[in-house]
């Protein structure tokens, strides 16, 4: 047993402070208390984004991707569904998508956007931002296709870009309304 008899004793003496059947990550009034594991994840992610900045300034795409991938594939806290964890991961996917599309890797960029959207189903800033990035990716793809003479492909990508931008605007309008109703 990971914590041994001492933990059993504590669980007994403290009157069962943990309910085995409940999921502290999914508590409606907020998740588990902010603890060291969550902070360790956030701190590690922050460090990775700063390292990614340094690589990006040197125009080192590969180095930047490695740093951001380390956030996505690195260790997660015991509550991987905690809101902060999902939002930071979603934002990292968005950054990766933006970066990859600027370097012409549209398929990888769109895959990152999709993975980010799956993490934040709530109608919030992060989801809206991912649609905005999807719009940017499609817009860049449209220009790239047009440059290669693929006009039909370019028009199609442009339509997808417009739809994504529209969805981003719709979500962010809702967010603004919620933050300041009646304005």
């Amino acid at each position: 047993m990971r914590r041994g008899a001492c933990a059993l004793l504590l669980a007994l003496a403290l009157g069962g402070c943990r309910k085995a059947a409940s999921d502290p990550c999914a508590d409606a009034e907020g998740g588990a208390p902010v603890g060291p594991a969550l902070l360790a994840f956030l701190s590690r992610s922050r460090a990775a984004h700063h390292r990614a900045d340094a690589f990006e300034e040197r125009n080192d795409l590969k180095g930047t991707e490695v740093e951001l991938d380390a956030v996505i594939h690195g260790p997660k806290p015991a509550c991987p569904s905690a809101a902060e964890v999902r939002e930071v991961l979603a934002d990292t996917h968005a950054r990766l998508g933006d970066l990859q599309s600027r370097h012409g890797d549209f398929a990888a960029a769109l895959a990152n956007v999709e993975q980010g959207l799956a993490l934040v189903p709530e109608q919030g800033y992060f989801r809206g931002h991912l649609f905005e990035i999807r719009g940017l990716v499609e817009e860049r793809q449209s220009k790239a296709l047009a440059g290669r003479g693929d006009i039909a492909g370019a028009v199609s990508a442009e339509e997808r870009a417009l739809a994504a931008f529209q969805e981003a605007m719709r979500i962010q309008s809702e967010v603004i309304e919620k933050a300041a109703p009646g304005r």
């Binding site: 004793l9 969550l38 968005a94």
Partner: protein, 194 residues
């Protein structure tokens, strides 16, 4: 928890002096525990738990289920359930019946060096009971005034402006900065110094 019938003490062995002294000390501590310093309590918790906020493991879930069943079914074969009953007996001992009190007195008179009756049957169990009561005391006292802890939640409240591409690092800087403060507040609250 249901109360068990009193044990048949006639077959209990007498204790040697050292064991008897240790048991008496443990019983006294369990019945009237001394104040535990919050800092010491936090140290004990930190030593016992790798991560107080970690989700329970499968093994812990199974073990808690076994303990619950043992507590509900009066099963003393489970060490945790036996300990819980020992704790209850130490903190709120049942009154001694007259015939049993007489038997205890007679045995004590026969052997003057042994004046403490073995109430739990095992000194280790009593010591463990005392230890558990020591640990529980600050928490039980705090139940009426449990500190409010900052909880994991969406970070959307931190962002009232449009997300700009290329500002992901600035966003995570802001998230970490706030959650660091909250973790520090949580730790102080758990230590009882807020």
């Amino acid at each position: 928890m249901t109360s068990s019938p009193p044990p048949d003490d006639s077959a209990e062995p007498w204790l040697d002096t050292d064991t008897e002294t240790a048991l008496a000390e443990a019983l006294r501590a369990a019945f009237a525990p001394a104040e535990l310093l919050p800092a010491r309590h936090a140290q004990i918790l930190a030593a016992a738990l790798e991560d107080p906020f970690a989700a329970p493991t499968q093994e812990e879930v199974r073990e808690s289920e076994r303990l619950r069943h043992a507590l509900e079914s009066d099963d003393d074969a489970h060490a945790g359930a036996a300990l819980a009953r020992a704790l209850a007996a130490a903190a709120r001992p049942a009154p001694l019946s007259e015939p049993r009190a007489r038997r205890v007195a007679e045995r004590a008179v026969r052997s003057r060096t042994n004046v403490v009756f073995v109430a739990f049957g095992a000194a280790a169990l009593a010591a463990a009971a005392a230890f558990a009561l020591f640990l529980a005391r600050p928490t039980l006292e705090a139940q009426g005034d449990r500190p409010a802890l900052a909880r994991s939640r969406s970070t959307a409240e931190l962002f009232h402006e449009r997300f700009e591409p290329g500002q992901a690092t600035a966003r995570i800087d802001r998230i970490v900065s706030l959650r660091e403060r909250e973790l520090r507040d949580n730790q102080y609250a758990l230590w009882g110094v807020r």
